[in-house]
């Protein structure tokens, strides 16, 4: 019976032509979004590769130079393109592309790609993920608003029930058909994205298995979104007696849940947990660094000094050895201040990212009113374009900064001790400074950070399906 109902519903949608027409329009939009995404991201990838090469060349061609001057010139850490950024660019365009690994300062990433995007891009997001989150519910609504209400209007529902078909079976059939159509569109989008990600994969990118898992995770969460959207559509179609009312109600729900609430939730989160202003952040950080710096003559300072020397020598110092050791005092002072300040910078940036987490938690709370918010969190996490991915990059870049600056300071510490106040490192020294090899976080870390969002979207899908089932078993009014 179920199969024949599914077949009948499917044939009805095909004959109506709406399903095919709408699916074609949506597929066209998705294709356009995919091509746009791929074109933007591949241009960006090319420019990263060129910039990295140019940066290495400029650093290595410094000639004879004081290591501390070189530490100010330093290197740039380029953020690689995320595995699925053509699918969902997420917030990557709003967080900067490159970090200057300068001595004394932990810099935020510079050059947000969004600053160069047209003003109009702020009105609507045209990524594949944006189109899916926006259009999938709309497609579901258009396919399903009249599923039950029009049967009621035509009087065929009474006839169907009278002929022995239960409302539960009927709803299940309609549910399967709509979910099937939406899932086909989704599958095409995700499979294309995964395939292109694998196709354009270079040796520095993640493993193929990681990409496949990301694709599967995206399929899973968007699939749950489809289930919840379809369930809500059929629920409202069953509860009202006219197709027009069902359509208007569903469109109102769509406008609020898909268009308004994601924007509102982000805006409210920023109002409740305001991000620090740049000048406040830097003033506050400077004060903290100042407070954290011990007096040069204090035992704390001496302890750090000792640690720095031991680390540079690769062995523990013997008692009294520190006074006899020949060391460039400027180089030592620079490295000690790096070690002391590094903790302060890490705390300041950790608090900044912690504030983003608070904002995310508030948005999560609001995703109890709209599954689109949870979906956006999950989609960005699995695409590697969320704030967590950026934080990972920022922390790794900071590690690289510490290691480069340490190397340059140590070069200075053990040279120029014989009275030369401005030691110049030889021209070939710069090539010994290691490159920044950044490995993007794996899918497991995205999953760990996304469990609450997954529970929310699972809850939406489960609650929607359960409510539909309950309604079909208890509803007597046909």
């Amino acid at each position: 019976m179920n199969i024949s109902i599914i077949r009948k519903e499917f044939l009805e949608l095909l004959r109506d032509g709406r399903a095919i027409g709408l699916s074609l329009i949506v597929s066209l939009l998705l294709m356009l979004a995919l091509v746009t995404g791929l074109s933007t991201e591949s241009a960006r990838e090319q420019s990263i590769i060129q910039a990295k090469t140019a940066d290495a060349a400029a650093f290595n061609a410094q000639g004879e130079k004081n290591p501390h001057s070189a530490a100010h010139f330093s290197r740039m850490a380029h953020k690689p393109i995320a595995p699925f950024s053509a699918f969902d660019p997420g917030v990557s365009s709003f967080l900067g592309q490159v970090i200057w690994l300068e001595a004394h300062y932990r810099n935020p990433a510079m050059f947000r790609a969004a600053e160069d995007a047209p003003e109009l891009s702020r009105l609507e997001n045209f990524s594949l993920a944006g189109v899916l989150a926006l259009v999938i519910p709309l497609l579901g609504i258009l396919l399903g608003y009249g599923s039950i209400s029009s049967e009621k209007e035509r009087g065929t529902l009474r006839q169907l029930i009278g002929s022995g078909t239960s409302l539960q079976t009927l709803l299940f059939g309609k549910f399967i058909v709509i979910v099937g159509i939406l899932f086909t569109v989704l599958c095409a989008a995700v499979v294309f994205s995964t395939a292109t990600s694998i196709l354009f994969l270079d040796e520095t990118g993640p493993a193929i298995s990681d990409l496949l898992l990301r694709g599967f995770s995206l399929l899973l969460v968007y699939g749950l979104y489809i289930v919840s959207v379809t369930a809500i559509t059929l629920l409202i179609s069953s509860l009202v007696s006219e197709s027009k009312t069902a359509l208007l109600t569903l469109l109102a729900v769509w406008a609020i849940a898909v268009i308004a609430l994601p924007r509102l939730s982000a805006s409210i989160a920023e109002q409740v947990y305001p991000s620090p202003y740049s000048h406040e952040f830097w003033e506050d950080t400077d004060l903290r660094l100042e407070a954290n710096r011990p007096e040069n003559s204090s035992s704390d300072y001496e302890a750090v000094e000792r640690r720095v020397i031991e680390r540079a020598l690769g062995r523990e110092l013997e008692e009294g050895e520190i006074d006899d050791i020949e060391i460039n005092a400027r180089g030592l002072r620079f490295e000690v201040s790096e070690v002391i300040d590094s903790e302060g910078y890490n705390n300041a940036f950790a608090e900044l990212f912690e504030n983003y987490v608070k904002q995310k938690n508030l948005r999560r709370l609001m995703s109890l009113l709209s599954p689109t918010i949870a979906l956006q969190h999950l989609s960005q996490a699995f695409s590697g374009t969320d704030v967590n991915a950026h934080q990972h990059f920022s922390n790794e870049a900071e590690r690289q900064r510490n290691s480069i600056i340490r190397m340059l300071n140590e070069e200075m510490m053990f040279n120029g001790t014989g009275g030369a106040s401005r030691y110049l490192a030889p021209a070939e020294f710069w090539e010994t400074v290691p490159e920044f090899h950044y490995e993007q976080p794996r899918i497991a870390s995205a999953w760990r950070a996304s469990v609450p969002d997954f529970i929310i979207i699972f809850f939406w899908a489960f609650a929607g399906a359960a409510a539909l089932r309950l309604l079909s078993r208890t509803s007597t009014k046909v």
């Binding site: 933007t40 365009s93 810099n107 969004a114 891009s121 045209f126």
Partner: protein
């Protein structure tokens, strides 16, 4: 049926029920929230500008006091060797907030609106430290009253006006109605005008309340004038959508068909065309890579350091009047930094120019899209009158760069000659002031699409009027 009776009937049926109250409540909530969020953004920007100006003023007061001590020669021994160096002069720069900037956040949450101008920083790093606003909020696009109007006003008009005729058709009363009212056209337009007026009046009254509350009940003349322009744009937009709804309704299809058609048009005009427009513009005219700009700047910085003495000699040849103060205690790094920064700025100027060219080409493409969708034109017009457009921000950045270049030209010889500047010279240097386009100039950039859509609306209304004649009681 008299007009008065019709209005009473329409009010009772269309607006005096729980569903209508709910829709209006949600819409008001969105408008008010958008208005207040816009105000919070604007106030935040103003406080950042004030803090920045206070900090720069404090720094420069201390710098000037030191310079005066040096000039007067009293207790000058403890002064640092760089006292009076023109390199250490910092200028405050900011983009002034326009009277109605709380109504459209535009690009002001993303693009720089404040920054120190200093000769220590090359152009590329002049505004590189951005604000730490929530990236998710930025990606979603700030929510303000103008955006609420662009996205939701058409939907509200659709909800209340789609069934001016179809309500009768769907309930099989159309023939009877036509026979009773004699003039269907009059009934159609009366209903349409009444319903649309209620929605538009409600929107404008809500916006006016937002204006009053955000101005603490004392809006200035400037603010009122720009609000007048904002109101006119909203009316243009409303009229366009009313004309479109009327046209769809005049085809006398079922209500369901009307809703679906209008929804499709809404999705196309307010979501797909703007999104596709910006993507097409980005693909056709990509800006040069910022990373390439950075790489070029670093390469030049490195090359200049390696041939610093040559660069200094070239500068001397350009300034034959220059006499280097051989007894100066100015560290060499000061003049060296000046030469490097100037050389980097000069070498990267073509890249900055190509950025500007790409942006203006994009604007040309987008101006084409603003004739395809009123949402595109309206979005640009709202940002222009609120002073939050990309163009205004880019103009600010350009003016800041030019100001720095002019100042570098003025004091460059002193810096290279390792001389301090005089306090008179410092006081004679004018501070950075943003040169504003007039409101008319800014409006002029958006008026074309607005007038075009007004003409389209008039044409649509005339066409609808003609179509209404074809609805006859015999066919239904």
């Amino acid at each position: 049926m008299k007009s008065k009776d019709l209005i009473k009937y329409e009010w009772r049926v269309q607006f005096s029920n729980l569903a209508a109250y709910s829709v209006f409540l949600i819409f008001t909530g969105l408008l008010f929230y958008g208005g207040f969020a816009g105000k919070a953004e604007r106030d935040a920007r103003i406080s950042v500008i004030e803090a920045h100006e206070a900090a720069v003023s404090e720094t420069m007061t201390a710098w000037l006091a030191d310079l005066r001590r040096l000039e007067q020669g009293n207790n000058a021994d403890d002064l640092p060797p760089t006292t009076g160096s023109a390199m250490d002069v910092v200028f405050a720069s900011s983009l002034p907030q326009e009277p109605l900037s709380d109504f459209a956040v535009g690009q002001s949450d993303l693009l720089p609106f404040v920054g120190e101008i200093s000769l220590w920083e090359p152009d590329i790093r002049l505004f590189s430290k951005y604000e730490f606003a929530d990236p998710v909020g930025l990606a979603q696009g700030s929510f303000d009253i103008s955006k609420a109007v662009i996205l939701f006003l058409p939907l509200l008009l659709v909800v209340f006006c789609f069934d001016v005729v179809s309500a009768e058709r769907d309930s099989n009363r159309l023939s009877l109605t036509i026979l009773q009212v004699k003039n269907l056209r009059r009934l159609f337009w009366q209903r349409m005008v009444f319903r649309a007026s209620i929605v538009l009046a409600f929107t404008l009254i809500s916006a006016f309340i937002v204006l009053l509350v955000n101005s603490e009940l004392r809006p200035t003349g400037d603010r009122m004038a720009i609000f007048g322009v904002w109101t006119s744009i909203v009316l243009f937009y409303g009229i366009f959508w009313c004309a479109l709804i009327a046209l769809v309704a005049s085809f006398n299809n079922s209500g369901e068909f009307n809703v679906l058609t209008l929804l499709g048009i809404w999705v196309g005009l307010t979501l797909i065309i703007p999104a596709a427009g910006s993507s097409v513009a980005e693909i056709l005219y990509p800006t040069p890579s910022r990373l390439a700009y950075l790489a070029e700047a670093r390469e030049v910085e490195n090359a200049t350091r390696l041939r610093e003495s040559d660069v200094a000699n070239e500068f001397m040849l350009d300034h034959p009047e220059l006499l280097v103060n051989l007894e100066s205690e100015f560290p060499a790094r000061v003049s060296s930094a000046f030469l490097i920064t100037s050389t980097v700025d000069e070498a990267t100027r073509p890249i900055v120019t190509s950025f500007e060219e790409a942006l203006s080409e994009r604007e040309r493409v987008l101006s084409f899209f603003s004739y395809l969708s009123p949402a595109v034109g309206i979005h640009g017009a709202f940002n222009e009158i609120a002073g939050t457009s990309s163009k205004r921000h880019q103009s600010y950045l350009r003016q800041a760069r030019n100001f720095k270049a002019d100042y570098a030209e003025l004091v460059g010889p002193d810096v290279v000659a390792k001389r301090s500047v005089s306090s008179e010279l410092f006081e004679s240097v004018s501070q950075f002031e943003f040169i504003e386009d007039t409101l008319l100039e800014r409006l002029g950039r958006s008026i074309g699409p607005l007038l075009f859509f007004l003409l389209v609306s008039i044409g649509t209304l005339l066409l609808t009027n003609r179509r209404l004649k074809s609805i006859s009681p015999i066919s239904y």
